[in-house]
């Protein structure tokens, strides 16, 4: 089976094992993610535009364009990027659901952006308004190339969605200036905060201009040679400048920067096939998933530098887990998935999406976490916006583009990575349409039905990801069990001639289970977390009135019960009940340290624990919460 390359934006990647599908070809029509997409469309995107106005972020463009006379607003150099990410989100939204009002709003913003651009192509309202003499003077911390990157991403997406090139023209003018400024024999430097690398690859794909790909490669190659200065305790590893990319064995430094850079490096591999790049990515991936990733898919163990920590340094309360880092985790792993065709990367995308990404957004869609701890003693709440507002529009663009992560294709067939109710409409090289529909209550239920609605009868392989969390997956085709189906790299392979009306039923048993962490993860010693399917659970104060969640204990031997809780944080959710206990601390009154008693001498009172999805916490007030629960 050959899906027409013309329909796939990423079909041209020469070294991809699998290829992405056009965003508009996959639609989520109902269920979990469709509801979040709907919230994003109705609430989050309009809220974002309002906040960009309130914060003065749009005014900065008006002032730079000469439409208004006012000082630069905001304390940071990189507020422009918030506008670009909002535009990118709108582009994905328009691609799936053209909406004249939204289109009009975006076009007006694009007019501002275009008007603010300087004649030579330069565009950064902070430097234009505040430090016009300091252009390119602080690449390490000034974020000019970072803002440029987000502009390029938005432009590529907007052009694809609308066919207009107004923003793309802005982007290529700026990119041409970068190309004239940076490179071998020119200015040999790069950005302290990566994103321009992956963005230039996108711009290359959107325009076919290979100079952008070359520049992306240059920005990668120049790193790790001491081109950046530190700042106080932030050393070279903070911005991935300690060793050259091809020699890097570990993830370190600022987590978002690391993820964005790795996404760009993997993009370079997908374009060039340079084995050393992929090998370095594989080493970093092993290092990250072997000791530097939270169970939620969150990344960043330290406030200091918003950084990865040592291996196994994964504190529940003082973790950073910036929403953008979990999103960056998705970006990087998507590219690794395309490069390798291995389910472990899709597993990680799923882990991050359902947990460490989604926790960043309130159920109502109008407030955000920047930091996503796995334990709160109370008092921590989402905010409508931030002085550093990178996370909110990052969530918007991820949710708007979410369908692209559900499926991919290669010459031999289709791969399904994520599960949700919706449809895929593709064009086969035969000229015939291929349409599939998927029906499921995932992640609350593990039964998934795929139906072939249109097909040309040719033989091709349908690959269904068997999630890493799942044991005992069962599959039927047209009601007939497939015994011991072939499994390759974590995907169940159904290779046959598909006919309209064919139905595949996949059953992923979804019992609540207890998960434990590597014994060197000191922070969660003697504790377990509850997981059900891809969803990580937590216990929250709201479900245990009068009890301090720090005193809760979980009986590792007692059964766990999944119970549907109608209306929980709006949409309803599966909660997990468990036999637990509350520690009686009366003997400790006023004491902080004492001569040690025997292990287990703390009196416990039985209680039923109620665990809710981690992503749903802090929607009923700034409750205390914990993911990891000490064993009773």
């Amino acid at each position: 089976m050959h899906i027409s390359k013309l329909t796939s934006t990423e079909a041209h990647l020469p070294f991809a094992r699998w290829h992405g599908l056009p965003l508009e070809s996959v639609r989520l029509s109902a269920g979990f993610w469709a509801a979040w997409q709907d919230t994003n469309r109705r609430v989050t995107l309009p809220h974002g535009l309002q906040m960009l106005e309130q914060a003065g972020t749009l005014d900065n463009f008006r002032v730079a364009a000469g439409f208004k006379d006012a000082p630069y607003r905001g304390a940071m150099t990189f507020h422009d990027s918030d506008v670009y990410k909002w535009l990118e989100a709108v582009a994905y939204e328009l691609q799936a659901n053209p909406d004249p009002v939204l289109r009009q709003q975006a076009d007006e913003v694009i007019d501002l952006v275009a008007a603010a651009q300087q004649p030579d192509g330069y565009l950064n309202t902070y430097y234009q308004l505040v430090e016009p003499q300091s252009r390119w003077s602080d690449l390490d911390f000034g974020h000019e190339l970072y803002c440029a990157g987000h502009l390029f991403e938005a432009a590529a997406a907007y052009t694809r969605a609308t066919g207009t090139t107004r923003l793309l023209d802005v982007a290529t003018r700026f990119a041409d200036l970068l190309d004239a400024t940076f490179g071998p024999g020119k200015r040999e430097a790069t950005s302290g905060h990566p994103v321009v690398e992956l963005a230039l690859v996108k711009l290359y794909r959107a325009t076919g201009n290979a100079r952008y790909l070359d520049l992306a490669r240059f920005f990668v190659d120049v790193r790790g040679r001491g081109v950046m200065r530190g700042l106080g305790w932030l050393k070279s590893e903070y911005h991935q400048d300690r060793v050259p990319v091809r020699e890097q064995d570990i993830v370190e430094g600022h987590a978002v920067r690391a993820m964005y850079l790795n996404a760009g490096v993997t993009d370079l591999y997908l374009e060039t096939g340079e084995a050393a790049l992929l090998a370095a990515m594989q080493r970093q991936w092993r290092d990250m998933t072997g000791g530097k990733m939270f169970v939620t898919g969150g990344l960043g163990s330290q406030y200091e530098g918003e950084a990865f920590g040592d291996a196994y340094e994964l504190p529940s309360d003082q973790c950073y887990c910036e929403t953008c880092a979990a999103i960056g985790n998705v970006f990087w792993n998507w590219r690794m998935l395309l490069a390798t065709g291995e389910a472990r990367f899709a597993d990680l995308i799923e882990r991050a999406l359902f947990n460490g990404v989604l926790s960043g957004l309130s159920a109502a869609g109008d407030s955000f976490f920047y930091i996503n701890p796995l334990l709160s003693r109370g008092g921590y709440a989402r905010q409508p916006w931030y002085e550093v507002a990178c996370c909110p529009p990052n969530l918007m663009r991820l949710l708007a583009s979410l369908p692209q992560y559900f499926m991919s294709h290669d010459d031999g067939g289709l791969q399904v990575h994520l599960y949700g109710t919706g449809t895929a409409q593709l064009a086969l090289e035969s000229g015939q349409p291929l349409t599939l529909s998927m029906q499921t209550d995932y992640p609350w239920d593990g039964k998934i039905e795929l139906r072939i609605d249109e097909a040309d009868g040719s033989r091709w392989a349908l690959r269904l990801r068997r999630p890493g969390w799942c044991t005992g997956a069962a599959v039927t085709v047209n009601g007939q069990p497939v015994d011991a189906p072939a499994v390759e790299a974590g995907y169940i392979v159904l290779d046959r001639a598909w006919q309209p009306g064919d139905v595949v039923q996949l059953d992923l048993p979804m019992e609540p289970t207890l998960v434990e962490a590597h014994p060197r993860v000191d922070a969660v010693r003697d504790s377990v977390s509850i997981q059900r399917g891809p969803v990580v659970y937590c216990v929250e104060e709201a479900d245990h009135p009068g009890v301090n969640v720090m005193d809760l204990r979980l009986d590792e031997n007692a059964p766990l019960r999944a119970v549907w809780r109608e209306g929980l944080v709006g949409r309803g959710a599966m909660v997990v009940e468990a036999s637990g206990a509350v520690a009686d601390l009366s003997a400790w009154d006023g004491l902080l340290y004492r001569r040690a008693g025997k292990r287990g001498d703390l009196p416990l009172r039985p209680i039923t624990l109620v665990a809710i999805p981690y992503h749903a916490w802090a929607n009923r007030g700034a409750n205390a919460m914990r993911v990891w629960i000490p064993r009773a």
Copy 2:
């Protein structure tokens, strides 16, 4: 018994329960602290002067004085304070051991300081050299009053030590300028970083000028009324400006700032007897010791804002525990001890000194920790100096002044708070001398012998602190056991007519014990630490070659053995050996999370653990280390 008030610098405090002794009246002649004082004298103080030259901190005064033309050195506004703290340390040293070379060095530095002072009394080399138009423009973060405070402390100490008033004249000129600038109806503001409060009280005591006391009170009273702005995520509690001091119930914000402020507030109580001040201090003390203090006496749970955290938020690895905070803990508790006469405050002084303070200094005396974690995965080492070099000279002044914390007096007798080999020479109101000598190998041994060498035969009470860590203290007088001695507020009271030749023997049984933390201290769940006497122990990589200290486990039931280790980190130390185990992690190869097994299913291999004093760690390389050891 009445000790002549003339001999006591702090005898005049009208609301002190107990009074300090003149620094020079108590001398440590041998043993643990005498060795550290000797290192301070021979190594640390000269090293400090050298570093102040290298860092340009002294040059800043030369430039401000017009002796040199150069830019301001250092990235901070408060480097001047390092010079003042070094001078204060030298003053204490000179008071005990007049040394012409050291005196000459200090006098030359004082000449620079005096020459740098502006005609109106203002003195701050940063503002003079870098922002001369910005004087007093940033009290929240600019540290002008903080530097002034350290100048005042140094001046009071130097004048007392040498009888010269050159530095005191500089201080009072500056203080008079402050008095003319700040106060009710004048500029109603205060310093973001406290210390000027306690320093003005010292200046009042040194000069008798009550305006300095009034100004100290003003700087305290004005707090907590929103006089300070925040900075990013640093809110009003960061610099103790959330509520007025008298309404404050908890310790919060920047730990060093909180300790310095509380020391100043307690000084105000000691001068004024205002009950509301002492009550607020008692509340804060309960909050701190009930949930916000590390077992080492270290303070500050968060890198963000170098701040106290929530109650029971006491991470071993990501704690801050700035050396200055532990020193501030000593400062505050000494004043609380004088105010109340309760041993719990002296217990805390001892806990901080032997552990969280002393860990800040290398055994060789020439490198320092700024942050003192209770767990290191390796790679963390003391530095010869810091860009923010507050901690090194703070250690110098504390060690040089250490004898002042050993004893106090009141009209009824003498109190012994700390134990070490040395002598006390006092003058009684009878005109007769009172001299005592103390002989002990404390903290390695709990046997202490006190001998009355000279006395006038009058009756008075000798109070000996019975440490909170001790059970079964025994005491003899002239070889006769004192059965069930009176104990008041943690002090054994021996009230009798003392004659020359009387000998008191105190035996504080010093068995190694296991300590556990309150169950809400999530970070040390299911773990114990080893303590022997006042010394907190840790396990360090150097004593467990080939073993990751993260894999060590301790059998809570096995005996602990104290063993003298000759030469350990130079001076020798008592180590503690214990039956422990190493976890076998082979089943976890490559895994970070997995379906939970049964508790205790991790294979363990027996090993003998060797624990060394926490303060001695990181003297054999940047070893991995942990204080809290999981139970086997």
